[in-house]
């Protein structure tokens, strides 16, 4: 591991990224808020402003913005789905009609504006969620959910699922190697044929899973799970001023967006300056 790096869910990030040091509950609440706000906003200009503010805030907090490049192919995939669907299959009235199709669908200036809104909404959710997940460590899931009142058993199960996925990746590799040694050609054929070949690993993997399930349940029962008394924790997370300020900012922003949506047409489609 490089010096000054912290291991988070899928990667190593610079420890100067301020969100890494935030209270786990702040990370979980941020994840929810950064998804809810673009969901409420419909207009393209406010969505573009939200996305820009998000990127600026991330740069100020020293977030690893370069990691967002990994998600560009996904954004292109969504973009082509949105464009295809809206160009060939929508009827949104506007001031100018650019193309009309024999099946009754047409493209107007408002179609293009709506497409832009959808793309900005998805991009905002993607950028916001990714920036939070880049700061999230596996222990944060348990501690964050627990401090938000989620039962320990549920938070523990979620965390356990993540840890088990790494074990099953090893199991899958072992089963695949055994099949290859017996002469199976798992890489042959088109993608669907390859997927069918992959599914032949199902029975041995399932036997491993059922055995592991029993071992795990015995181990948990021996450890007296779920805990009946007061549980103690290895790590203690204290609320800093930064955490309290971040939570207050998130609450105020959410409330502001909800109120603005209810009392003015600014955030509803098409919004300022197109209304």
């Amino acid at each position: 591991m490089e010096k000054g790096k912290v291991r988070t869910f899928f990667t190593y990030v610079d420890e100067r990224y301020a969100l890494v040091r935030a209270h786990p509950a702040v990370k979980i609440v941020s994840l929810v808020v950064l998804n809810v706000i673009p969901w409420i906003i419909e207009a393209p200009v406010p969505l573009a402003s939200f996305l820009t503010s998000l990127l600026l805030a991330a740069a100020l907090l020293k977030a690893p913005l370069s990691k967002l490049r990994n998600y560009l192919p996904y954004l292109l995939l969504v973009a082509q789905a949105v464009v295809l669907s809206y160009v060939l299959g929508s009827r949104i009235p506007g001031n100018a009609v650019y193309i009309e199709f024999p099946w009754g669908c047409y493209v107007t200036d408002r179609t293009l504006l709506y497409m832009a809104s959808v793309m900005l909404r998805i991009s905002s959710m993607l950028v916001g969620s990714t920036l939070i997940f880049l700061s999230l460590r596996d222990t944060d899931v348990v501690y964050g959910l627990k401090s938000l009142g989620v039962p320990f058993a549920a938070a523990f199960a979620f965390n356990l699922a993540l840890r088990f996925s790494a074990l099953f990746l090893d199991d899958y590799a072992r089963v695949r190697d055994a099949m290859l040694l017996k002469g199976a050609k798992l890489d042959a054929g088109n993608p669907l044929e390859r997927a069918k070949l992959l599914s032949r690993t199902a029975v041995p993997l399932m036997v491993i899973a059922v055995r592991r399930m029993q071992d795990l349940s015995f181990a948990l029962e021996l450890k007296s799970f779920p805990p009946s008394g007061k549980r103690t924790y290895l790590h203690q997370f204290r609320w800093s001023r930064f955490d309290v300020a971040a939570l207050a900012l998130l609450a105020a922003t959410t409330a502001g967006v909800v109120v603005a949506k209810m009392v003015s047409p600014l955030l509803s489609f098409p919004g300022w300056p197109f209304a």
Binding site: Y74, A161, F164
Partner: protein
């Protein structure tokens, strides 16, 4: 009440399905539908886990789908509402069909086979309707593309569950019956 067995079922199902979901997305991606796969291998596993171990198996499938699709989509609200909730509903629908028909997951008699043949397509259809209505609501697809999405989802998901799930149920149910987590009693 959550106990050790239920947590074990959920965690192991999620851990098993998560890498399979990632492989499915990488091996058979569907152009036009983000983080979708034309052959959703994990569905075969979490359908079977739900039929053997009940709701907690479905919850494991839900967590796995959320994390796997989230890896490609950055864990957005749409991912959770879309594929992940749909994949929680689908195996539960199949479980309800089995319960209503009084069938068992070992697929031994005619009633069991009928429940499997009817339950899987119904569950895939319900899930397809859910997923593409959410896509429509989030503005990712338009109304004329909705039925195309539902139909392709229905065919693709049913196919994967039948191909992966049938041999699992037929060959492993007698083995799984020994487990204290198995929910059916003869």
């Amino acid at each position: 009440m959550v106990d050790a067995r239920k947590v074990a079922v959920t965690a192991v199902t999620a851990g098993l399905c998560l890498p399979l979901a990632l492989f499915a997305i990488i091996l058979v991606p569907v152009p036009g539908l983000p983080a979708a796969s034309g052959f959703w291998i994990p569905a075969g596993f979490y359908f079977v886990m739900t039929l053997w171990f009940g709701v907690w198996g479905a919850l494991g499938g839900h967590i796995a789908t959320f994390l796997a699709m989230g890896y490609f989509q950055g864990f957005t609200l749409q991912v959770w509402a879309d594929g992940a909730l749909g994949d929680l509903i689908a195996p539960l629908v199949a479980l309800i069909v089995f319960k209503l028909m009084g069938a068992h997951p070992d697929l031994k008699d005619r009633k069991d086979k009928m429940a499997w043949l009817i339950g899987v397509p119904i569950a895939s259809l319900v899930c397809g309707l859910w997923v593409h209505t959410v896509n429509l609501y989030f503005g990712v697809i338009t109304w004329p593309f909705w039925w195309v999405g539902v139909l392709t989802y229905f065919i693709g998901d049913s196919l994967a569950v039948f191909i992966v799930g049938t041999p699992l149920l037929r060959s492993l149910t007698s083995y799984v019956k020994q487990s204290p987590m198995y929910i059916w009693r003869d």
